[in-house]
Symmetry: C2
Subunit: 286 residues, 2 copies
């Protein structure tokens, strides 16, 4: 496994692999790898001939009062996990390498980027789209892998790829969870033992919404209200940014559950103590 | 010469040409070809092995009160000019093909896109960058050719290419002019005979600025004021959007001319009757 820090070198390696006819897979990460990332790597390994993992804590997707500085970084740990999974290249650029000193160009997906997490994190998805587009242009992968835990991110990146006529396949992979249902996230490290217990409530409440729909409730506004109320009552949950039931493709708000076969995204973002956590599930109407 | 209307077909043709090892040149145009465009084609022909010209009057770069609908369109004329110059492919997509019905993704180069023409045409360069990026992604050219008449556009596209790590070379070509100095532009067609005479004053005033600098004047603010005043007095000139002397690379405003060898962009946009015209020259300090 080779670690590449320079953008030009990464670009050259990629071009040479493409010329040789390899199918390239990219797993973009911010490092601090957990089983969620590794599940992406395993799927990518099974579908691609050469696998590049990028590790870059992207400053442009963090707001000024967010956790960019304290975001967990553990390159040694990442290195040993990546080599064990058979990653071929780690692309590990510096901020300077990616943005220089006079960076000016940003990509935005309108509407989709300003709802849900975009409402409480203005500019977040603009930063995400920009860095992902840059990585695509540098590496030119055939396929890129993203976790469904960041569901809105996947929808937005797919839309960007379609709109900008990019020729990369976006593959999304199921959320990996702890035994009690908590979705794996590097930010779980921020939680105290007590907060950690409360955090499991996110997944429980998402499933409660699914049960209510499964039980015949069709008024989604009512379910949103009940679940939001439940979340607010949980110890250590300081704020509920949103609990939404939306169309799983367009992310449009739904007031009522519809026909059999319809898929509904149930998604939430809450603050557990000083830590913002997100989670989601897809509910299929039977 | 083949005319390609479908985006997927264009993309396939391009990929196949790249696989065969051809150096691809792209000349992006809005059609209504004149000698300015043809000079780009001739340079591209001399540097590339296969030449694609796109013809697309891009709706997203026109403001709501601008001339999108009346912009000159003459595909028959364009076709015969392009075939004569040895263009290999004309890419002629529809609005629907380029933007569909649910288009959401836009690219912006901050600061550079909101000065000069960006001030009087908000959103213009966002539309330009977006369509150019789309064309680059569809066609994947090695080189793309732009006229220096749209100087700010060239600077912005170069910055976008650098920032987004695109692997296309941007080549810019000198402005082609009528005998009296008027820069060729499809919009010159809008001018009445009387307005046409006044339009030649743009180039004269740009050269007057050069003469003033050549004569030793170093106070650029003073020159801007004099030239703007001169332009305002010209018959049929309804409004001077700007006359600026700026750094030719950063486009930063300059108050004073500096050392020998410095290059200054003199650029202007004025309304001649109901027609907005732009022009520029580069002034080198001796």
């Amino acid at each position: 496994m080779k670690v590449v820090k320079k953008l030009n070198e990464m670009s050259k390696i990629s071009s040479s692999l493409i010329t040789k006819g390899f199918v390239l897979g990219l797993v973009p990460t911010m490092g601090d790898l957990h089983e969620g990332h590794l599940s992406l790597v395993r799927l990518a390994k099974s579908q691609c001939q050469k696998l590049i993992m990028s590790i870059f804590v992207n400053p442009t997707q963090f707001g000024p009062r967010e956790d960019f500085k304290k975001y967990p970084r553990d390159f040694e740990g990442d290195y040993s996990k990546a080599i064990k999974e058979g990653v071929d290249y780690i692309f590990l650029p510096t901020d300077e390498e990616m943005y220089g000193t006079d960076y000016k160009t940003f990509v935005e997906v309108s509407k989709l980027g300003s709802i849900m997490c975009g409402r409480s994190r203005p500019g977040h998805f603009k930063g995400v789209c920009t860095v992902v587009l840059k990585l695509f242009n540098i590496i030119k992968p055939n396929r890129a892998y993203f976790g469904q835990k960041d569901y809105q991110q996947v929808v937005i990146i797919k839309k960007m790829v379609e709109d900008l006529n990019l020729s990369v396949d976006i593959v999304s992979c199921p959320t990996i969870r702890e035994k009690d249902g908590l979705a794996l996230s590097s930010r779980n490290k921020y939680l105290s033992t007590e907060e950690r217990k409360s955090a499991a409530e996110l997944y429980r409440q998402l499933n409660l919404a699914a049960e209510m729909i499964g039980g015949g409730e069709r008024d989604l506004g009512k379910i949103e209200k009940i679940i939001t109320g439940n979340l607010k009552k949980v110890k250590h949950i300081k704020k509920v940014d949103y609990f939404n039931l939306r169309d799983n493709v367009s992310l449009k708000e739904l007031k009522h559950a519809g026909v059999s076969g319809q898929k509904i995204l149930a998604a939430t973002a809450v603050w557990v103590g000083g830590t913002r956590l997100i989670d989601n599930i897809i509910i299929k109407i039977e």
